[in-house]
Amino acid sequence: MIRLDGVTALYRDRTALRDVTLHIAPGERVAVVGPNGAGKSTLLRVVAGLLRPTVGIVELDGHPIDRLERLAVARRLSVVPQLPTLPFATTVEEVVALGRLPHEHPIRGMRPGDRAAVAAAIERVGVGHLLGRDARELSLGERQLVLLAMAVAQDARALILDEPTVHLDLRHQVEVMELVGDLNVRDGTTILAVLHDLGLAAHFFPRLIVLDHGRVVADGPPSDVLAPDLIRDVFGVDPAFVRVAR
């Protein structure tokens, strides 16, 4: 599904990724962890085709991603964006409907199938109670859920999430993680998520990739990856602070 080979990439003239090679198979569920500035967000931008690596190859479904039209990428890969600003009053359902942009008719817009997908995404993410409200007036957590619903409505085979839980309370964190798991298990959606919370990552993801200084320093099941030495070296904290279920 997603393949990076020897990727080096710059972020603001600074090398943020160095010689990264990884492969994510269809249907996998992968979390990327690492300290601030490790290159996690740059990795997501490279995978999504927004940032061109200076060296190396990025492939999506076997196609070099920079050869694909943006529309083709968007149909294969949906991304939950960071909380953006909205210039105009926009209702929750209008935001979710934006997820259908890659699929809707270029001139006529949304067709019945698109509306059904929007309704299904709203239902599945559980933001039905927010319908009709201006998205600019929601709490941070609510907005995060709305954007997740938008990405779900996009109905792509791979879903990329960048810190999807930062603004959520504990219950919603767990609910979002369960939803992501459900999308992965029931629908076969490939998941690639950047997470800060090692506990959450270890609990809900069968495979972790640890980035440090732009390099992949560990890749595998949580129990293998989150060794005390690595936690001390990479995150600079006492491993006792991180309780990983083994």
Binding site: E69, R70, P84, T85, F88, A89, V95, R136
Partner: protein, 359 residues
């Protein structure tokens, strides 16, 4: 207008809006009816009184080819067919073009205070027109003078320069565009001041251009300006998807399948083309391009597929109406009318903007 301003108040907008958002056809039909009504008023009214019956008969005779017994003078026919009809059509086309361009600029720059003139078109056109007034050439081509040509070129060149300058080592292209636009506009305004200073007897003419108006409309000019504006608007309509994607920002737009760099360049180019064509035929008329898209968004939401065509209808109606008012008040500049109507709206918008609107 006060009703619309009231509807800007937070929260109240949503319910009011969703009632309409599901019925875009109804809103469109109402908009069209409004335009037709105002257009008929615009043709019927003027400094010379022509009986409504005669007006209708003349139109039926000349436009529909109906065999109507001629009860009117040839002067009345000239006034209706060669003066008022092209005038109303020009106003409608210019109003629609500015509204569509305004909606495009607002969406593209993600800034509710943007208008079609924000990237230098206005000052570029004004400087072009002022230079044309100073140059003593009076030739006309297709009923266009040097003034129109230089205003058109000035508008387009200004945007082009702004676009190129903004791309020099910038990481936030939209902010950079806005700031560059402001800087270039200020510089051009200085040039305009100088040109006005040097213009001697031409000052009046420059001034009339700056305030805008439709009294000099003719079929020849409509025939040149309308296709440009219609074509540019059509290209923008076809890019509604890109504008929708940009609601959430450029990065999100890219994730949603929008080729941001290409779409930005195309939208900037065609929106500027529509604006340049509009300011070349009618001078600088403010507020319609700012206000029409906002009013439409209040009614049907931010979906560009609805906003663009409805803003075109509303912009056309507003402009024909403003021109009618300007005419009935004795040919005051139409820009003054749109300002009087638009300024309160603009202020309301500013107040709302201060309260912040991040998602």
């Amino acid at each position: 207008m006060p009703a619309a301003v009231g509807a800007l108040a937070p929260r109240r907008s949503s319910g009011f809006r969703t009632a309409f958002a599901r019925r875009p056809i109804v809103v469109g039909a109402l908009g069209l009816a409004l335009l037709v009504f105002i257009t008929i008023l615009g043709i019927a009214a003027g400094t010379v009184v022509i009986a409504p019956g005669d007006t209708v008969a003349i139109l039926a005779h000349r436009l529909l080819g109906l065999d109507v017994a001629q009860s009117w003078t040839s002067a009345a026919e000239t006034i209706v067919v060669d003066l008022r009809l092209p005038r109303v059509l020009t106003a409608a086309v210019v109003g629609a073009g500015l509204a569509v361009a305004g909606a495009a600029f607002q969406g593209l720059l993600r800034n509710p205070l943007a208008d079609p003139y924000v990237l230098g078109t206005a000052s570029g056109a004004a400087l072009g027109a002022a230079i044309a007034v100073i140059i003593p050439v009076r030739a006309l081509f297709l009923q266009f003078g040097l003034l129109h040509a230089l205003a058109f070129l000035g508008a387009l060149s200004a945007v082009f320069v702004v676009y190129r300058l903004s791309r020099l080592g910038s990481r936030a292209p939209m902010t950079s565009l806005l700031l560059t636009g402001y800087a270039v506009s200020s510089l051009l305004a200085a040039g305009l001041a100088m040109a006005m200073y040097l213009s001697g007897a031409g000052l009046r003419q420059i001034f009339a251009y700056l305030l805008g108006g439709f009294e000099a409309s003719s079929w020849g000019r409509v025939a040149v300006a309308a296709p440009l504006i219609v074509l540019a608007s059509a290209v923008i309509f076809l890019r509604a998807r890109s504008l929708n994607g940009m609601l959430l920002g450029e990065e999100a737009a890219a994730h949603l399948g929008v080729d941001v760099r290409r779409e930005r360049a195309v939208l900037l180019a065609v929106a500027s083309l529509a604006t340049a064509a509009a300011v070349a035929v009618s001078g600088l008329i403010g507020f319609v391009g700012l206000v029409a898209p906002h009013v439409v968004r209040l009614i049907v939401g931010p979906n560009a597929r609805l906003v663009l065509p409805l803003a075109a209808l509303l912009g056309a109606s507003l402009m024909v109406g403003a021109d009618l008012v300007a005419r009935l008040l004795g040919e005051i500049p139409v820009g003054v009318v749109t300002a009087v109507v638009g300024a309160p709206f603009f202020l309301a918008l500013l107040r709302r903007a201060q309260t912040g609107y991040e998602l």
